[in-house]
Symmetry: C2
């Protein structure tokens, strides 16, 4: 890793301030504002800042004053560092905030990403990127106009097992990957959570966890799927009245490679990918949990067993580093858009009972 | 196992002869006629008779005189025990033949099963049972009319790993099985083989090896699928001009359980099933090979690791025992018909680009 990143002056006042600090021995840390203090922020993201080299928690945004008090105590934040949804846009005037991390319900991603970009901040947005491809396009456009980076929280793309699996695929270590199976699901708890409300979540299991399986297929095959066919199953039409409970789908890629996927909100245990290549197989199970990931391959001499990391610290630091070095971050908004185009094709396939083509980006 | 099976007199002259032999200490062996001396008969089935307790090779039927000579030498058969396709129907007059085992190209199964039944023989037929559900119905009817048993060569249903996996499913050892993934494929060799000719094989990978994956889903879930959706992929339209190369499909079962499947004639490595139950997972990989099968479960205290067997000896003996004991054999023709109804729905789904309902039996 580069400890003294080169900074371009075009990055603006905030980063210009960072330039002088970059002369110091310790690395410059970008300030992150965390928007939405639900369980992901509380249990995963906030604790990860302690492990970051280029990122620090500079502010939080919450609609619940009691949470603000608690977070101030826990993370030593000042009153000024706790924003709410009314004064959110005033982050524009806060030079300690370089990055805004959107951890809100899916339906709010679009609006808040655009507002953060308009406030001159780089934006990191949780997956799924938005509720529609149209929203994704608007988010990408807003960040482009504001000359700010938009990163998507696809933590697996920075996680060492997945990174190594992607290398296996790209370098054809087991030959070309011809088929991928991937599934992610769990038994959903609280029936009152926002994830089960279509207006807030956009969809159910597919939007929330199926997107991990879709991601795995796309980055292991290295192409965009051309056609999808999907079946939806609902065994609890009360709890899952508004969103999908279980979806099974198959995908065809232009080169003739294929993928089988499954996602569910009503069963624990499906948490894997398996890549079948011309001369071997490799996979992970569990593949998408926050920790305890396990890889395997068909060749004991080529294990898939890198050291574990904190997924959130790694991805936040990668985004900070990209900004500090003025390099484009991946996965960016376009990657979120690509997934959303497939997700929309899957929902169309279910609605129409037909094989559907994936729309062009 | 029962060493002295009880025999009903209604079984006819051949079995009546067996009754007196059943008084002897060694078990009565039924005589099998092997029809079609391709690689399966040569390498798997014929050598398996040496391990059988209730079955012996009594005749072969071949259109290649040179094969007849070779088999006579290898298995000590007399000239009379080698039939050809012209004098096939004269097996009627051969009391040493109790069972006719059809190991011909798929398109010939229907005709030869019906002729064997008409000759008064019990019939064991390789998978896939036939080229269409209509043929399956005619085969079932013919055996019913002749009062002879019709068994289908679904060897996995008698293989100890699969038997134990089915027990896990039926007894809900890991809770109810909610989702199954299954795939079977291999890289097909000789481009001139009958399996690549639609008129002989009825279809490609799906008919030949995909049926194993379909079987696994059906016997692990224990229901008939209600809907299927499939995508076909062809990367070698010359070699696979007449039959399917790769098919991916998803299935929905009436109770809301699901399955993802894949089959191919153009990739080695996919040879597994994985069952996800409410409180654990189990599976096999490889799952469908003639030997070297491996099982696994999510609970080290409940392994899936029974002793290996010769699949062909076990299934042939099971069929012989059923006949000796006048008990209905499973899997019978109805089981082959059930698979064929799903296979036809899969081909319809590909042809129409739509989700298809599976026709009623």
């Amino acid at each position: 890793m580069q400890r003294r990143p080169f900074l371009k002056t075009a990055l603006g006042a905030t980063l210009a301030a960072g330039l002088s600090r970059a002369e110091e021995p310790s690395p410059r840390k970008l300030g992150w504002a965390l928007v939405g203090l639900g369980s992901l922020s509380t249990n995963q993201i906030a604790p990860a800042f302690a492990k970051c080299r280029f990122s620090k928690l500079s502010a939080v945004v919450t609609g619940t004053p009691a949470k603000g008090v608690k977070w101030r105590e826990q993370y030593g934040l000042s009153e000024k560092q706790v924003y709410n949804y009314e004064n959110f846009d005033s982050i524009l005037n806060d030079p300690t905030i370089d990055v805004v991390y959107i951890v809100l319900p899916n339906s709010m991603h679009c609006d808040f990403v655009i507002r953060a970009a308009k406030a001159g901040k780089h934006v990191f947005c949780e997956k799924p990127m938005a509720n529609s491809a149209d929203e994704c396009r608007r988010m990408i456009e807003a960040c482009k106009t504001a000359k700010r980076q938009l990163g998507i929280g696809y933590r697996c793309q920075r996680e060492p097992h997945h990174v190594e699996a992607i290398r296996f695929a790209r370098e054809k270590v087991f030959g070309e990957v011809r088929h991928v199976e991937a599934a992610f699901g769990f038994k959903s708890g609280d029936p009152k959570q926002w994830r089960l409300r279509k207006a807030l979540a956009g969809g159910g299991a597919l939007m929330d966890v199926g997107v991990y399986a879709l991601q795995a297929c796309r980055y292991l095959i290295g192409e965009e799927p051309s056609e999808v066919s999907a079946i939806e199953t609902k065994t609890d039409p009360v709890k899952f009245a508004e969103v999908d409970e279980t979806i099974n789908w198959v995908m065809k890629f232009p080169s003739g490679r294929t993928a089988n996927c499954m996602t569910t909100y009503n069963l624990n245990g499906c948490n894997f990918f398996t890549a079948t290549a011309e001369r071997g197989r490799f996979g992970m199970e569990p593949a998408y949990s926050y920790d305890g990931l396990k890889g395997w391959t068909s060749d004991p001499k080529r294990p898939l067993d890198p050291p574990a990391t904190d997924h959130f610290a790694v991805e936040m630091d990668a985004f900070s580093e990209a900004i500090l070095n003025d390099k484009p971050f991946e996965p960016a908004g376009e990657e979120g858009l690509r997934d959303m185009l497939v997700i929309e094709a899957i929902y169309r396939s279910i609605a129409n009972g037909k094989v559907e083509k994936v729309a062009a980006q």
